[in-house]
Amino acid sequence: MTLLRLAFHSLMNRKFTSFLTIASIALSVALLLGVEKIRVGARDSFNNTINQTDLIVGARSGPIQLLLYAVFHMGDATNNISYKSYLKIKSDPRVEWTIPYSLGDSHRGYRVVATDENFYAHYHYRQDHGLKIEQGKIASDIFDVVLGSEVAKQLKYGMGEKIILSHGVSDEAGGMDHENRPFKVVGILNRTATPIDRSLYITLEGMEAIHMDWKDGAPPLPGQETPAEAITKDKIKIGQLTAFLLRTKSRIHAVYMEREIDTFEGEPLLAVIPGVALSQLWQGISYAEDGLKLVSLCVVLSGLLGMLIALYTSLNERRREMAILRALGASPRTVLGLMVMESTLFTVVGTLMGTASVYALIWILQPIIERMFGFYIPIRPLTGVEFTYLLLISTAGIIIGFIPAWKAFRNTLSDGLTIRI
């Protein structure tokens, strides 16, 4: 206890160097912990892009591809699935609900997703977060469109705005627009920090309506198309979907249904469990994690080296201090203990400060990160891995502290009571 007080006063005597040393340790700890928190936050956000959906069903292709176009609204489906097959699966008694998707059009680079009211009712992300209409209502009429929050914000669209959808998903000039079938903005979704924010939502009928009279992928000649006003819901027959999300009444059913859909008679379908496909995809894109971790470990090492340098260089000017302590009955071992105490104080205070500042930063930056990078870092207690990191850093710091301590021990042995200045 007394030694601890002595160590504390000694450090306070070298306030500036002590501060710098502690700051550098705190900074490196904060970096390591921050990287870890961001990594886990990004992974969790990614894995929670879609929840409460047991199966994603599309035409047979790769699971990652299906995941990309059905959940992330990226890339294209190679094939559609027939509405008939959809209705057949939907009517299975084990199915709780389905969310149909019809994709393929876009608006100024943002994807257009045709779906039905189940989407608004059942789509979940980040565990139990459902979609909410922030303004207006859900799309129910043929030419209604609901905007994802980012679309609304970036394109500065308000309620009632008339917009023209483009055929295809490329943003390049020369694409075909559905000029004669303008859509009216009837609602804007809340922010979800998922790909939901980056799309526009229309009804399945709306998707059919803008492609009405098309033949072989080509638009009708001018004058031959049905006027927009003349299109009513009962005139529209939905023929195809791109994919659909499915929720079973019991999770056990999901596994059976996945197999059944994969061997569906009538057309080649593919069902994937979103969690499985998401973590597969994440693994594929998580190379950067290891690199980032390595860099932050190096920073921790340099922080500890900084402490070693600070303590080691102070030793010579402290020989007098050591001789005084010796004269008062301190053994060389006490001097060693004092030095280890100092490095331990550095390490522990630095680690605590680093940890505290990470939490403070997360608290401050949480909304900013969510807005800018689309993922959410929750404020949670330290995980086992993080705690292990902190423990390792502290241990390393204390071990490194033995180097100057040992040097001080040698000094006191050779100096005895001789005061060197």
Binding site: E321, L328, L417
Partner: protein
């Protein structure tokens, strides 16, 4: 002269000390100091002063011979036990820079207590605080107790060092030229202050200096050049 008591407080017999494999720097056939004596040890540089102090304080151990302190065969104790012995029974005053710069005057005085469990047990916490105030008053540093030591004059610093050495009433005080950094007029005053305190507790003083003008103040004077057979007789 002080009365001669039966057992000397310090007794050195047939002592030889060498650093490593070098030639011996100190070789003393016999040296005894009685309890309560104020002994002046003088010798020029190279006479083995530093070595003798190291041996008496127990940071060094002789290769040959015996050092007895307080009836204990000091030189046969382990290094760590000598450290503890020093902390408990010896007060040490350096020539200068006696104080830890980052502690205030009070904490510097209390440092010997803080570092020594054995000295600590002699006094309760309150009694110790009272003793610090008392000593500080007697040495004229009571107004400085909460000051930073780096702001003190050399004379004040040495008095703080004396207070620290005296606290806990050690049996022996070893002073290594404690007055050499002081003004001439002040030296005598410092020694008088030190002696006054030592007399109260019957403390023995071993005072090492090359300044022979102080000699008359002491009970006895030992010339290290004369008793050290290994001394390099520079002059």
């Amino acid at each position: 002269m002080s009365p001669i008591s039966a057992t000397p407080i310090v007794s050195i017999r047939n002592l030889t000390f060498a650093y490593g494999r070098e030639a011996p720097v100190l070789s003393i056939e016999s040296l005894t100091v009685q309890a309560g004596e104020k002994v002046f040890i003088h010798g020029p540089s190279g006479s083995g002063k530093t070595t003798l102090l190291g041996l008496l304080a127990g940071v060094l151990a002789p290769q040959i011979g015996v050092i007895q302190i307080l009836g204990q065969e000091f030189s046969k104790l382990s290094a760590s036990r000598r450290d503890r012995f020093r902390g408990a029974h010896l007060g040490y005053i350096f020539q200068m820079f006696n104080l830890i710069p980052y502690l205030n005057v009070r904490d510097n005085i209390l440092l010997s207590h803080d570092l020594n469990a054995r000295r600590d047990r002699k006094l309760s916490h309150q009694a110790r605080a009272a003793r610090v105030s008392e000593l500080a008053q007697e040495l004229g540093i009571d107004t400085l107790l909460d000051r930073t030591v780096t702001k003190l004059s050399v004379g004040q610093q040495q008095r703080v060092a004396a207070a620290r050495a005296l606290l806990g009433s050690p049996e022996i005080i070893i002073a290594d030229e404690p007055t050499s950094a002081l003004d001439y007029d002040y030296r005598e005053k410092f020694i008088h202050l030190l002696f006054t305190e030592c007399n109260k507790a019957g403390t023995t003083v071993l005072f090492v200096s090359h300044d022979r003008q102080l000699e008359p103040l002491f009970d006895r004077c030992i010339s290290l050049t004369e008793i050290n057979q290994a001394a390099t007789r520079a002059k």
